[in-house]
């Protein structure tokens, strides 16, 4: 070592000892690499799995950062009614949640419900421009509402035609109050109305107005849903006391409290069946649900089945009704029943014999059928009788499409990826399509058609080309279209976005800690089965925020700095905007950033490509 620093002067030439005078930054070690990391935001599986096409990952990340209002606005970009979907959607997003492989999926629906409730009374962002064209929407169920909402936000004049006295379709008339309070729905429809959408209720298209009159609109969206319940096709079906499920739900949603008697049999295994069963329970009945396959094959949502069970519904699986009987002697067998008869509790028509029992046959499961479910086969000589006062059938519904052009009659309507039918300017959505008949799919189809109509009208006006790059609009290869992408105004800053979905194998799970999923607060079944008040109270705000923090934020860089922290070459730096720069002069391409990235937001790419 030297006693004088002068030895470091260049004039002295090489110093007497090996002493550093520069950093290693003079070595451009980045030249060693043959692969390089790239920040590439991909698509979270929940986003792809959401039939509405909500940027779930995006709002979860905003919530994690405490940006609650922005999270709420982000939901409203894609979903006109998050308070509704937060309650009634069966959340396929959670089924695709990567966290399911780690502990339990994030309770996305609870978080969305919180955001939806926070959005109640808050207006949606208004249209940026006013367009001259007018669009007619037939039907005000979720598909129609979504289409109207998005079109209004795109600047169009929208008129919604609704045959019923109030808008909402299945949301208003089908889903019971205890699942979706009318006030919540009304508030969310109010937000759509506030965008300038005109609602013409009590207007049945085809009867009160005809499709031919659509000349006053530049495009039409048909989303009248399905109303015609399928029939049992067995003797005795027309006896008094046999209800069509939708009719029962409609009556109760209209404020009626029909008397069903003590013993109610519900036939069917879908969600309508569960709604009917739980409604019947609330009307004071003992309920038995008949389903011809086993529990595993039930199409109804698991939570609904659980709720029905908790509230006291009984299930008779592998049971098929073969005849409805009105034999009054059946009633006489039960002394209690006889007493009730005496007090004239039943509205029994004088002519028709009232239903008194259903004759059933036992079934067994055979080979899988076309739907993939094991086909039920009737067991010979297995008939038995279930005594009952009311039968509710919930076997699915069919559409009434008489008001539409003849070529669209008969079965589900086929539409393009942008919701257009074979008729120019005529779009369709909701349960008219061959898609799962859920609120989420309906909302998604409405949005898709809104994009389609916007494209069609702009093309007609010479503002757009015929081609739409659908892949770029989809949230993942199999996801729904994104309105944000259509409008190209994503408030979430994305880095080199690519339309691949991040799978759990793309994540680095070791960067996460286990945390239990917060479960919705449920009122006790002994209480809920007696009233129509909301049964599921959702999550308290802090629990919902904790759920948002459980989110892995798959696929999109959230600035967690894991890449920066694990870079052996100190080549990653954080920018002021929260994103990262890679100093490729020094990055050796080891790939630790990509390997350790918790969320698969970094991709290694071949050098020189």
């Amino acid at each position: 070592m030297a006693e004088s620093k002068a030895i470091l002067d260049i004039a002295h030439g090489v110093p007497p000892v090996s002493v550093s005078q520069t950093s290693t930054r003079v070595n451009k070690t980045g030249s060693w690499k043959y692969i390089r990391p790239l920040y590439r935001d991909r698509v979270a599986p929940c986003n792809q799995g959401c039939p509405v096409g909500i940027d779930i990952e995006g709002y979860m990340n905003l919530l994690r950062e405490g940006r609650v209002d922005e999270a709420r606005d982000l939901v409203l970009r894609e979903n006109p009614m998050p308070a509704t979907t937060g309650r009634v959607c069966y959340h396929p997003c959670e089924s695709s949640c990567n966290r399911a492989s780690f502990d339990q999926p994030v309770a996305i629906h609870s978080v969305e419900r919180m955001l939806g409730d926070m959005a109640l009374g808050k207006p949606a962002a208004p249209a940026l421009e006013k367009r001259a064209e007018s669009v007619g929407v037939i039907g005000s169920g979720p598909a129609g509402l979504a289409c109207a909402y998005h079109l209004a936000r795109l600047g169009y004049s929208v008129t919604v035609y609704e045959a019923e006295s109030e808008p909402g379709g299945v949301l208003r008339w089908g889903i019971p109050e205890y699942r979706l309070p009318k006030a919540i729905l009304a508030s969310e429809i109010g937000r759509i109305r506030d965008l300038g959408v005109t609602f013409r209720t009590n207007t049945h298209v085809g009867r009160d107005v005809t499709l031919a009159e659509r000349g006053m609109h530049d495009a039409v969206f048909a989303a009248t849903g399905v109303h015609q319940s399928r029939e049992l096709g067995i003797p005795g079906e027309s006896l008094t006391g046999v209800w069509r499920g939708l009719d029962l739900l409609r009556a109760v949603n209209a404020g009626e409290r029909p008397q069903l008697g003590k013993r109610v049999v519900v036939i069917g295994g879908g969600n309508t069946a569960m709604d009917c069963a739980r409604t019947a329970l609330r009307l004071g009945a003992e309920v038995t649900v008949l389903y011809r396959r086993s529990r595993n094959e039930m199409p109804a949502n698991h939570e609904e089945v659980e709720a029905a069970l908790h509230e006291g519904a009984r299930f008779s699986f592998l049971t098929m009704p073969v005849e409805v009987t009105g034999d009054p002697r059946e009633a006489d067998i039960d002394p209690l029943r006889a007493i009730e008869d005496t007090f004239g509790q039943f509205d029994r028509s004088s002519e028709d014999p009232r239903v008194s029992a259903v004759l059933c046959a036992r079934m067994e499961l055979g080979e899988p059928d076309a739907s993939g479910r094991r086909a039920p086969r009737r067991v010979e000589h297995s008939e038995f009788r279930i005594a009952c006062d009311t039968i509710v059938t919930a076997l699915g519904e069919e559409a009434d499409t008489d008001y539409l052009p003849a070529e669209l009659h008969g079965g589900a309507i086929r539409v393009t990826a942008l919701g257009e039918t074979s008729r120019t300017a005529l779009f369709a959505g909701g349960d008219l399509l061959e898609e799962p008949h859920t609120v989420a799919f309906a909302l998604g189809s409405g949005k898709r058609a809104a994009i389609g109509i916007d494209h069609y009208l702009r093309m007609k006006a010479g503002e757009a080309g015929a081609d739409v790059e659908l892949g770029e609009l989809k949230l993942g290869p199999d996801g729904n279209l994104s309105m944000t992408r259509w409008r190209a105004d994503d408030p979430v800053a994305r880095v080199n976005p690519v339309n691949e979905v991040v799978r759990v194998t793309d994540l680095n799970l070791s960067q996460f800690g286990h945390a239990r999923r917060a479960e919705d607060v449920l009122r006790p079944a002994w209480e809920t089965r007696h009233d129509f008040l909301e049964a599921n109270l959702g999550l308290p705000r802090e629990d919902a925020m904790a759920e948002a923090r459980r989110c892995f934020n798959c696929a999109v860089c959230n600035g967690c700095e894991v890449c920066l922290i694990f870079c052996p070459d100190v080549s990653i730096s954080r920018r002021d905007d929260g994103k990262f720069d890679i100093a490729y002069d020094y990055c050796k391409g080891c790939g630790l950033c990509a390997a350790e990235c918790p969320r698969g937001a970094i991709t290694m790419t071949r050098e020189g490509l």
């Binding site: 070592m1 090489v14 007497p16 002493v19």
Partner: protein
């Protein structure tokens, strides 16, 4: 202040007066008294140094390296095997240009075990980049210890002070001990500009490629080239302050001499006695004492010995396969004198492993050289007093 102290304690006093800041040492006979006394001094407050009681000489030198690189005055002492164990780190200190001062009490190397004096331990370190200063008496030991720090820090070179086992290390002599204030005036605290310093961080000793390694070696050589002049000035300063000087070499009664003994260490004192005796008998003999072995004081030796016909070098060391090391180095130094002025240099191997080098033994060597009429140097050194 005069005190009668052993050579080892003369080292300790020198180290204390130099206000050494870090001492790291490991015991070995016959050096141990040096560090025992230093431990006492640290304990009773005479010396405010950190004493690192390491587990080996290797670690002693390593700790000195660390300390010196951090900019403080560091010291250690050792002997023989301990010095050999340090060998790698002597290079480290040398090329690292760390002004460490070390005392080595010359002791023969094993096997078989031998605790008595000879110079093979230190001479085996001659190429490690250390200045080597051999001492003749306890006063010289004390003075040289303090001078060594001045020299080391002046040129960023480590300095080794060498004293003979027992003949000096354990022999009491009166020593004038300078006052601390006077020594402070001579030797200010070390002020290294370049050191391990968190406010001015540098890396020291990093990989040095062929492109620059040789330059650093040359800078080391240049520093060694400056040692004789630097030491002359330091010694003159010392002389001014304390009335004593030692010189890189010392010529003793060499005027008009036909034969001159060349010696180092305590053999010098015995040789002085022999020279005095012979001068009284009218023999034209003298003595040159080599204090500084590295760098080898070529120019002063040329000046001192040019024109003297015969030189007898007494080597208490042996480079197996070559001969006495002082003799060989001297022959090399005198080689390019004109032949008319170039002495004949005879080498004598004696006193190895602590064997006594008495006046008679020295007289024998002197006589042999004086009596030898050959005009050219013999390449074969003579082993003195060796049993068959």
């Amino acid at each position: 202040m005069k005190k009668v102290i052993v050579g080892n304690h003369a080292v300790s006093w020198g180290v204390a007066l130099a206000r050494t800041e870090v001492i790291a040492a490991y015991p070995i006979t016959p050096q141990t008294q040096i560090v025992e006394e230093l431990a006492e001094m640290c304990d009773d407050g005479r010396l405010a140094a950190r004493f690192v009681k390491v587990e080996s000489e290797h670690s002693a030198m390593a700790a000195c390296i660390g300390a010196s690189a951090t900019g403080v005055r560091a010291f250690t002492a050792t002997s023989s095997q301990g010095l050999l164990l340090m060998h790698e780190l002597l290079h480290w200190a040398g090329l690292g240009r760390l002004p460490i001062v070390m005392a080595d009490v010359n002791r023969a190397v094993a096997p078989g075990w031998n605790i008595w004096t000879d110079q093979n331990d230190t001479l085996a370190q001659r190429d490690t980049g250390w200045v080597q200063l051999y001492c003749e008496n306890n006063q010289e030991v004390l003075d040289t210890t303090i001078q060594a720090f001045a020299l080391a820090e002046k040129l960023s070179l480590p300095v080794m002070i060498v004293l003979d086992a027992f003949f000096l290390s354990h022999t009491s002599e009166p020593v004038d001990i300078p006052s601390p204030a006077d020594v402070d005036a001579f030797l200010p605290p070390r002020n290294a500009a370049l050191k391990l310093d968190t406010s001015d961080p540098h890396a020291f000793g990093a990989l040095t490629t062929p492109a620059v390694y040789m330059e650093m070696r040359k800078r080391q050589q240049e520093a060694f080239d400056q040692v004789p002049e630097a030491y002359r000035l330091i010694d003159a300063d010392w002389d001014r302050r304390f009335g004593r000087s030692w010189g890189a070499i010392e010529s003793y009664r060499t005027e008009d001499a036909d034969t001159v003994l060349v010696t180092s260490g305590t053999i010098t004192s015995t040789s002085r006695y022999v020279i005095n005796e012979r001068r009284e008998r009218g023999e034209k003999v003298g003595l040159v004492k080599i204090k500084m072995f590295r760098p080898f004081p070529t120019e002063p030796l040329r000046r001192a010995l040019a024109g003297i016909p015969k030189v007898a070098v007494l080597d208490r060391n042996i480079s197996p396969g070559h001969g006495g090391i002082f003799a060989e180095e001297l022959r090399s130094a005198l080689y390019d004198l004109p032949s008319s002025r170039r002495p004949r240099v005879d080498g004598y191997i004696l006193g190895l492993g602590g064997r006594d080098v008495t006046p008679d033994v020295i007289g024998e060597c002197l006589d042999a050289t004086r009596g030898n009429q050959s005009s050219s140097s013999s390449r074969e050194d003579l082993w003195v007093g060796v049993k068959p």
